[in-house]
């Protein structure tokens, strides 16, 4: 069934055993979390406590089902898995759906949680102690609960069902933060600030969804997007603005977790999930003119790029300048690739060239940064003077990242510049470039704040990180406000008969 028939009121007909899969995918990690918390000393092997095994098993199951569904997709069967129940009478429905977009995001989530599961495996000797086993079981059960909530939020095809999973995610995250506190247990303030920002973001999202329901009478994002576009484009803009503000608050809340190294992995998972979800719901609301297959990839790359910039700011906060440069350069490349893919045939070639350049640069820069850090710690070494290998790798990476002649990115830049000559593509590409420019400005600002003396700046680091998120949100808003709406309206008028 395609989205148009669904928007016209045709109900999905896939009520088979596949429905059971979707519900179990969400519910079983939550049940397993309870089991893991109830039996903290149960162990599968000397190195693997039961809690970590539960998490790994469910991550593997969700990955397998998602990958199978992704392979089973055909152009005519957009939603092979759909679960749909009446929930609260006339107003809301509990609806889960696995489509092409959220299956990609779900796979990304599975990889992240798999890394968390591997990283959370305790030392075998320490894990045999009762207190550590219990603490690890509590952490693993909270992680599994968070995994279940994230899965539910990704699969939800109803705005209220999504909001329920997303707000419930705050509880296991808060539990994880409490468990990660040191023995003094005096640092409750970051948890409170995180939860309040999460609640603020949830309220903005709730306002968006209630506004959408009041305008359209449905909480299905596909149907709501279609109805809003046909009735009132301004309402669609406001819904998107509220959605961006809501997710922006959540990403800020996640960014605050990076004040402590123990929370960095959790922060990365939450930020990537939030950015992916934002793109998913924007895609659902704006689907009438984003049905091209490339749109899914473009939005996903945008989400990763946004996360990359926030991650760069965070890496700067902790003094990891090489990591910040790496992440920021990669995010810039992704943005250029997005701009290229939004252009015409030559632009697609440019995008490929940029991605090739990224593929060359990152394997060069990552070991160079690692070698420099390693050598800087060795006694008797002058800081900043690495071995010949690290210097060569670093120079080659910078050569490639700077799009110097002879590199793939140089050719990509030429092709992109030529494709910009097409006037009908100018607004979109200019909007994308403005986003990139805004983000680079924000990056520079954070760089200044981080490295100049405080007397010359007067801003705190936290303000800088929040500002980079706000500037990024402003860039996305600018992108939302101008070109897509104008393109959609022009397209609908051109097609005729819709207004």
């Amino acid at each position: 069934m395609n989205p148009i028939s669904h928007a016209a009121g045709v109900q999905p007909e896939q009520f088979s055993s596949a429905v059971v899969w979707l519900n179990w995918l969400v519910l079983l990690p939550m049940l397993a979390a309870g089991v893991a918390a109830a039996y903290p000393r149960f162990r599968v092997s000397a190195h693997w406590p039961a809690a970590a095994c539960h998490l790994a098993v469910w991550v593997a199951v969700v990955s397998a089902v998602t990958a199978a569904a992704l392979l089973a997709f055909t152009p005519d069967a957009a939603w092979p898995l759909t679960a749909d129940y009446r929930w609260t009478g006339y107003l809301f429905q509990f609806r889960l759906r696995l489509d092409r977009f959220n299956s990609v995001l779900l796979l990304l989530l599975c990889w992240q949680f798999a890394i968390l599961a591997l990283g959370s495996r305790p030392d075998a000797r320490a894990a045999s102690q009762n207190g550590i086993a219990r603490r690890h079981a509590r952490e693993a059960s909270a992680t599994m609960l968070a995994f279940g909530c994230c899965t539910g939020a990704l699969l939800a095809a109803d705005l209220v069902a999504f909001l329920m999973f997303w707000m419930a995610l705050a509880l296991p995250v808060a539990a994880l933060l409490v468990f990660a506190q040191p023995e003094g247990r005096e640092a409750g303030r970051p948890i409170i600030v995180h939860l309040l920002l999460h609640a603020l973001g949830s309220l903005a999202m709730l306002a968006c969804f209630a506004f959408t329901w009041a305008q359209t009478g449905t909480t299905d994002p596909f149907a709501a997007g279609m109805s809003l576009l046909l009735r009132d484009v301004a309402a669609l803009r406001w819904a998107a603005v509220l959605l961006v503000v809501g997710f922006g608050c959540t990403i800020c809340a996640s960014a605050l977790l990076a004040t402590r190294p123990a929370f960095l992995a959790l922060c990365a998972v939450l930020m990537t999930t939030a950015a992916g979800l934002l793109m998913r719901y924007l895609h659902l609301l704006f689907w009438p003119y984003a049905l091209e297959p490339i749109a899914v990839v473009v939005l996903w790359l945008c989400a990763i790029a946004a996360c990359g910039f926030v991650g760069a700011g965070l890496a700067l906060r902790t003094g990891h300048f090489a990591l910040a440069m790496l992440v920021c350069a990669a995010a810039c490349y992704v943005l250029f690739a997005v701009a290229g893919s939004a252009a015409a045939e030559r632009g697609a070639h440019a995008a490929l060239a940029y991605l090739l350049g990224l593929g060359v640069s990152l394997p060069l820069l990552a070991p160079a940064a690692g070698l420099l850090r390693f050598e800087a710690r060795r006694p008797g070494r002058e800081p900043g003077r690495g071995s010949a290998l690290s210097r060569t790798l670093g120079l080659a990476a910078v050569f490639s990242l700077a799009s110097a002649p002879g590199t793939p990115a140089f050719g990509g830049g030429l092709l992109l510049a030529r494709s910009l000559a097409r006037p009908q593509l100018a607004p979109l590409v200019v909007a994308m470039a403005s986003v990139a420019g805004l983000l680079v400005c924000a990056f520079q600002m954070v760089h200044r704040v981080r490295w100049l003396p405080p007397s010359e700046i007067g801003w705190s680091d936290r303000t800088a990180v929040l500002t980079i998120a706000a500037v990024a949100a402003a860039g996305v808003l600018a992108w939302l406000w101008v070109p897509p709406i104008a393109h959609a309206a022009a397209h609908l008028k051109g097609v005729g008969g819709w207004r």
Partner: protein, 222 residues
């Protein structure tokens, strides 16, 4: 132009909600549960007033869910808070500080009750807030948007104070004074109330249908 009685009711509900939000943040910390109850009453008035004055029947359903949530979650939070504070008359959270280690069952009951009052899922308060937002946007105008803003402020204010209370309970240093053990019957009662809170949030259909019938009776739904 004279406003109708439901409009006055809705306006009064908004004012009561905003006043209680200010009081719960600025007032005596130990009285936060009292102001939470007052805020819920304001939201109930707002929902009923919206349904009658602006033809937004979801307001009645929101009000009914708020009543149910207030009855159960407030009882759970208040009883557990009283047990943790003991006979202390201190105006701040001090007597309950660190009781999460000494009375984990009671502290968990308080946390669940506070989360339900804050409207976190899976609790009835979550759907009550969703429906009040839906009614507010459906009604539109000053009353509708005022209801949405008042509900948002009340949620955030209550959540902030409840989080400070919960952090004092769970993260504070454990008390040195002797603590009386909690009887098994009380713990069973707390567990039942907590389960009821979760069930009402996960299966809100009956309460919503009762709200629909109430909306018919009040004339808000035709």
């Amino acid at each position: 132009m004279s406003a109708s009685i439901p409009t006055w009711v809705c306006g009064a509900g908004i004012i009561v909600t905003l006043f209680s939000s200010a009081a719960v943040v600025l007032g005596v910390p130990s009285r936060f549960l009292v102001w939470s109850a007052v805020g819920h009453c304001g939201l109930i008035l707002t929902g009923v007033g919206l349904a009658r004055s602006a033809a937004a029947p979801a307001g009645v359903e929101a009000a009914l869910l708020y009543v149910v949530n207030l009855a159960i979650a407030q009882l759970l939070a208040w009883a557990s808070w009283r047990l943790m504070r003991g006979s202390s008359k201190s105006p701040d959270f001090g007597p309950a500080r660190g009781m999460g280690r000494r009375m984990p069952g009671v502290a968990s009951a308080f946390t669940i009750g506070a989360a339900a009052l804050a409207g976190l899922p899976p609790c009835a308060g979550f759907f009550a807030r969703v429906m009040l937002f839906a009614a507010g946007f459906k009604a539109g105008g000053a009353l509708g948007f005022g209801a949405v803003i008042a509900c948002s402020i009340q949620s955030l204010a209550w959540l902030a104070v409840a989080l400070y209370a919960a952090s004092a309970v769970w993260l504070g240093a454990p008390p040195t004074r002797p603590v009386r053990p909690v009887s098994r019957s009380r713990l069973v009662g707390f567990a039942l109330l907590a389960a009821l809170t979760a069930v009402l949030g996960l299966i809100p259909g009956p309460a919503v249908q009762a709200g629909e019938r109430l909306a018919y009776l009040l004339g808000a739904r035709s």
